[in-house]
Amino acid sequence: MAVAQPVGVYEREDLLTGCQAVAEGIRLANVDVIAAYPIRPYTEVMDAISKIIADGKLDAEYIVADSEHSQFEIVKHAASVGARAFAGSSGTGWMYGFEALVVTATDRLPVLFLVGNRALDDPGAFGVEHNDALAIRDMGWLLCWVATAQEALEHVLLGYRIAEDKRVMMPMALAMDGAFLTHSQHIVRIPSQEAVNRFLPPFDLAERRLHPDNPVSIAPQVNEDWVMEIRRQNWEAARRARGVITAAYEEFNQVFGPRYKPPYYFEEFQTEDAEVVLVGMGTVAMPARTAVRRLREQGHRVGYVNLRWFRPFPTLELRDCLRRFRAVGVIDRDFAHGAPDDGGVLLHEVRSCLYPLRERPAVVNFITGLGGRDVSIQDAIRMYEITQEAARKDRLDGFVTWVGVRE
């Protein structure tokens, strides 16, 4: 990752957890309103922000809400008057306020949320699982996973840039694996305010903002004469978002140096001559990439695709990427009980994306790492082996393997 960058872009380095890195991003983005409510493992971002505000490093309203539902509604309404707003949650807390999350998208308000991925209740469990953030996937949200603290900070800035673009105007969920990223500390290079100001324009809700000088009515009740057209508009916005995402990364690279490689939605690791790849989201990238290095030492041609953007899904780009391989193993750090072939959420997305091809790679699925269970390098190696086996077979009997469960 050590690349030469323009002078004066980064002002210092610091040892930060994923949560703290997001807090720095919030500071740099000059967010106006933050609503906090505690739930492990995302809470630390709010601790960090409150300290930033208390020390005078950020001028913002900071409200401790009475519940996640109130928390999410507060930031939604702050955005409606034209304020840049931030909130976040994890697991069951995210579910508590789900109603508010859905309407924020249909109201087309570009609020940023941190989702510290956590297993859903019941039973209560704090460990990482992706189902919380994934639950929002159909509603018209931007949704992306970051795998490092550096990425986390930068995706706060990218997030606001993309979400607030007039062609997009969708809320964004920035997902981050609980514990493994929220709580582990890494060295992060912190951009200067001046550089951020060059990249991120101010938030302008224009003729939609609620203010006495702009008398509008937002979200009147509708019936069957209107819903379909409104959905069509929002569907279109999600499609337009793809082009905006690309543009945003290019602008980012111009200001901060070539941090991200096209196509930006995902990052390939040693895939140039690979026969077989695994695809995953979040911190599972680490054991997977280590497994790639070890297997390559033994002559296996394997690679890893780290998917960053889940919504909008990079259909064309991912199809063009994965079609080159003989087999693809999809890692799901989530569950989808009773789904087709009993596969996880990401499996279905990847399969669907590959379906139009006449010649497709074999696709297998791994359900792993649920509820905070480690995904070890050994686990990753096993996943590669199973995927390689799928590449050799003419026909697959089973698609799904649970990796790491006691059986």
Binding site: T106, D107, R108, L109, M169, E207, R208, P215, V216, S217, I218, A219, P220, V222, N223, E224, D225, W226, M228, E229, I230, R232, Q233, N234, E236, A237
Partner: protein, 392 residues
Amino acid sequence: MIKRVEINYRGIFQKTLAKKIGGDIVMIASRMGQVGFSNGRYSDAPERNGIPCKYFAFVSPDLSEEELEAECGAKLDIDEANISVVLDDTMVKGVEPWAWHGVRPINEKVVPYGHMLVVSRRKPEDLVRFMARKPYPYYLALLEGDTSFAGLWVYRDDLTHERVLGALAGLDPQLLSIEAVKSYLWEKTHEQHRVDAAQQAFESVRQNIYEVTPAQGIDWPYEIPKLPKWYEFSEGVVVKGVPREFHLGPKGQSRNQLFKRGTTKSQRPVVRFDLCTKCTLCWLECPDQCFDPTPDGYYDVDYEYCVGCGKCAEVCPVQECIVMVDELAFEDNRSPWEHWKQDPEGYVRWAEEKKGKYRVLPNVVTGTGARVVEVEPVPVGGKPKPAARAGA
């Protein structure tokens, strides 16, 4: 063959009645060996007092239930009605159930040679003069009776339900035979007077069927709004507020142009400006902001928006100053204050003629009856007298 029956009714006040009629159409038709189902119009709900609503019943003598459902089910509205029942005759002035719908003719869906059954004490010409001209003939059938209103909890059992069923049998014996209607009512209630009411209506309606020709009726004066395409309106579910505009005088206050609501009313307030003490209460208490303050301190009524609740008449402290009068007595929505200013004595004569001699004061609980009082009209220049209040 499919028979589509629509029941036009006033929301809440006739909700139970319409549902009973619609439901019983299906029950009785089914006993005759036909298939059927019924439903309300989804977008009408939640119903509001007075708003025009529709209930539907679909019946077929020959299709299977599945086929009937396929044709008529999973749909929110109908395209054509073989019989259109109208439970409140003031609805013939047009119906506007929600914004962007427009004020539409009551006979919009009636098919050629179809029937419009109206519960009314009026003559056919009194009704047809408000109805839209259709390019083909249809029938207007009158069932003599008062409009039956009741609230949600206390049902008004005035036999309107039974009589409408009897009348339907009179209009289309294949749809409902009078024998089936009577035996159904007897089985359900064992009350002869209900059976008799149906029979009586069956006989009387057949003496009261009139053909309405394409020459009769009016050119419909209201435009139907055109719904925009998905890319023709703002994203983010945002609409512009009503523009801010206010000056004294008729229509001085800006109002929502997309939804006028005047067709919600069965009655409208007639104002004796010459008796008015300018207390402001009618204007202040109107839930629909229909009064326009005038430069000389009076309060004009914008009848396009008045929904006929009667609150103004009730709170007015002056006897005979505001009186509610049946909507069918009025041809237009002319500003009453302007009318009075232009011709003070003529206006009072006009007002008193509309009001007539009798005042009907409904009991507080809807549908439980009313007091009818005969009054002496107050002459021009008469002294305002304090009104009695229902709470007293």
